[in-house]
């Protein structure tokens, strides 16, 4: 549910991201068949990659663990997400992995990073756009 919410919210701004000279890319940790289904279901018009070994997640310091998923913040975020109309689906990937958003410029300069600290902990899209 949280991944759907985040993907849809950022994807809505894809044209703005392109107008600012950047690309939008989604990365998930499920296999590519899951990714294809996800892309079709939510009509994702941006490149989508898979990192089934979670090497990039690990290297970027993204959090993973049961206590990061099942906690008070996640429950609060779940209520927010449900109220926004998102519904949970089957877990297709590593259910204990948290995500994040990183904006990187050519040369590898990081102009923005947000590593989720709980399920549904997503950065405001406006903050991402400000980094471009």
């Amino acid at each position: 549910m949280f991944c759907r919410e985040q993907a849809v919210q950022v994807h809505r701004e894809r044209d703005t991201i392109r107008e600012r000279g950047a690309d939008l890319v989604f990365i998930g940790n499920g296999n590519r068949h899951f990714a294809e289904a996800f892309q079709k279901q939510f009509d994702i018009q941006a490149p989508l990659y898979v990192d089934t070994k979670r090497d990039a997640y690990r290297a970027l310091g993204m959090r993973r663990g049961t206590s990061d998923i099942i906690n008070r913040s996640s429950l609060r975020n779940m209520v927010r997400s449900l109220r926004a109309g998102f519904r949970p689906g089957l877990i297709q990937g590593d259910g204990r992995q948290l995500g994040g958003v990183v904006v990187v410029r050519p040369g590898g300069q990081v102009s923005y990073s947000y590593l989720s600290s709980a399920g549904g902990d997503h950065p405001p899209v406006a903050d991402i756009l400000r980094a471009l």
Partner: protein
């Protein structure tokens, strides 16, 4: 900046660590790519999803 394994070469400029830049991801056709290919020419917004559920 949130906690992570960034390598800082300058106090005001954080760069993606070599380990992350070299991480291999796959496109939906099965092709392998280094993560740093994604920012080779233009800035990129990388959205790491929890999973595909």
């Amino acid at each position: 900046m949130a906690a992570g394994r960034w390598v800082c070469y300058h106090p005001l400029v954080a760069r993606v660590a070599d380990e992350a830049a070299a991480a291999v991801i796959r496109d939906l056709g099965g092709g392998e790519h280094r993560l740093d290919e994604l920012w080779a020419e233009r800035p990129v917004v990388l959205v790491f999803l929890r999973h595909f559920g």
